[in-house]
Symmetry: C2
DNA sequence: TTGAAAGCGCTAACAG
DNA sequence: CTGTTAGCGCTTTCAA
């Protein structure tokens, strides 16, 4: 019960112990102005001896900078988020910022008048992933001129918020093209992601464009809801199989869904890639460990997170940054489309 | 109408607009003392109108509580960390705390005198994962009486830091037992995790205990370094195969390593589970999607993270919490050990 | 119940 | 180069 706080040293203690003023201590701490080498040494020593650690809140309050960026996301799961987090964190730390993460889905106090809105008071800026914040909220942040960078989502027309996205459309088009032209597939299933997810939208556009250009009629029956989730994808495919829908390839929307697809096919006794080609999107760590190894599109997940952090820090520190960053994607060929065979020693 | 559109509103603006003192505003904000219903209403309205958000730094500085907990971890990767993060975040938010995460590996300023030590000034307490902080650092935090909870690591003897771990030893023993007794395996490979990782240590102890009790001699040649990493595990197994080491089962250390093992075996043309049984540990999301589906031990990853957050918050708020929390583990039988067969429709 | 006022620990002018 | 001093925006006594 008794948590007696022996008071931690403050900048005043350091100053006294070093025989200088607190400003001088502050200066050596922040290298914000030249300080005599001798005193610098004394201050350093005092800091060491007292085991002094400046208190963030005081610095923040005085300097009006939190040196922290926030990341808003829906639900943390899968290799995808691990990669993204790694990238964002690296970008933040490199820029000298800490990272505060917040899953919108866990907010236990949605309607409290005191609800903490991550960005506006705890951080210098916010990375908003996909649809984890709705339009009105974004607009409000904009009006406050609060630095925001969108990740895997483009800015609402009027708002002009910097965004970092990947070449979903071209990536998708390219890989579907590959299925059509190289593997002679024509009945290609597409499993879309969550409704609101922009990545999913553009991947579908790319898919349809590829079909169009090859003169293949778009067939709504071949589109299912994979939701970027392996279970949902498995279910969606099971349903198609049950309905007797015929297909010779599957573009699963993302790698996670592809994993579910491969499973459904395996359980149905359908061979990949002999009977059906399967491709994903993302090239998450998952992809090359699936069976068969998954042909997919490298969506530079980590790089996207990293870039978003960098952009946000630019925005915070310089007041401006690139309005759009579109990361290129690249096809990664493995076995599941039909391109390679695993070498198995007999 | 407002005349100051430049600065964000402060508690003073709210007070003026509501015709009360800032203390009163603070009171309705924090429900820290009874306030007249009328004034409460006025204050609420003013807050709404001004779109007021209290500033965290000021609250923290004044109240000496950050309402933030920190999570220190090495490298974010894989399903494992996604699960852990989900748990920790849920626990934090439920308790009304924010979560600050910090990967030790990304710290770009390791030797700066101004290096920010996450816990000591930005947070009310710290969850330290595995070996992401060394003994001396832990000791220092202890001396400062800074609240710390260890996750997947037990406390150094003298320090008595609360810890949350899982039943690694029994879990491992049980699953190796299963291999021995149910599947008649006797030459069982163990792939250990990273050197410093305590989970790995106890899993090995469990493994050896199981061998012992069945009168099987421990064979050092059957132990390799999987490092809880699928690539390393694959390499380790490849090396064993190359050396002509014989085995009939593999306890891969964790699911990630098991994934690499399965791959190595597949490429070597060795059938699982017919020729060799394979089991993992963790029951991460990965496990049931491997081919064949992986028999493993449910290590309650998310629950462990959640519990750690809860314990830490208890420690912060009540000054004490359970010194040890040992989460039970449970075997999850799937196909890779030899127990089940996938139903494949012909 | 309410308000006035004293900090919380630090940064950043502003003098010297 | 260095010290003095005025805040940063809030919580929290202490009186009233």
């Amino acid at each position: 019960m008794m948590t007696k706080n022996k008071k931690r040293p403050t900048i005043i203690d350091v100053a006294e112990s070093a025989g200088v003023s607190i400003s001088t201590v502050s200066r050596v701490l922040n290298a914000s102005a030249p300080v005599d080498a001798d005193k610098t040494q004394k201050v350093r020593q005092a800091i060491e001896e007292l085991n002094y650690q400046p208190k963030a809140a005081a610095r923040i309050l005085a300097s009006q900078r939190t040196e922290t960026i926030g990341l808003l996301l829906p639900l943390i799961s899968g290799e995808y988020f691990a990669g993204m987090l790694r990238g964002v964190e690296r970008g933040a730390i490199e820029g000298g910022y800490d990272l505060l993460i917040h899953s919108t889905y866990t907010d236990a106090r949605p309607n409290s008048p005191y609800r903490r809105v991550l960005g506006e008071h705890n951080t210098d800026g916010l990375i908003v992933f996909s649809d984890s914040l709705d339009g009105t909220e974004l607009q409000r942040l904009c009006e406050l001129e609060f630095p925001v960078v969108l990740l895997h989502r483009s800015s609402p027309d009027v708002l002009n918020i910097p965004s970092v996205t990947v070449e979903n459309k071209n990536g998708a088009k390219q890989i579907v093209d590959h299925l059509i032209k190289l593997h002679n597939r024509r009945k290609i299933v597409y499993l879309r992601g969550p409704e609101e997810h922009e990545d999913s939208h553009w991947r579908e556009v790319g898919y349809r464009q590829a079909l169009d250009e090859s003169g293949i009629l778009f067939d709504p029956a071949l589109v299912g809801a994979g939701n970027f989730d392996n279970r949902d994808a498995q279910d969606a495919l099971d349903a198609m199989l049950l309905d007797g829908i015929e297909f010779d390839a599957i573009f699963a929307g993302d790698d996670e869904a592809a994993s579910g697809v491969l499973r459904a096919l395996r359980l149905a006794g359908i061979r990949v890639p002999e009977d059906v080609s399967v491709v994903g999107f993302d090239d998450s760590n998952l992809a090359e460990h699936l069976v068969p190894a998954l042909t997919t599109v490298d969506a530079q997940i980590e790089q996207a997170g990293y870039t978003a952090a960098k952009r946000l820090i630019q925005l915070i520190e310089r007041g401006e940054t690139n309005l759009m960053t579109l990361l290129p994607t690249q096809m990664v060929l493995r076995r599941s489309c039909g391109c390679f065979y695993e070498e198995v020693k007999p």
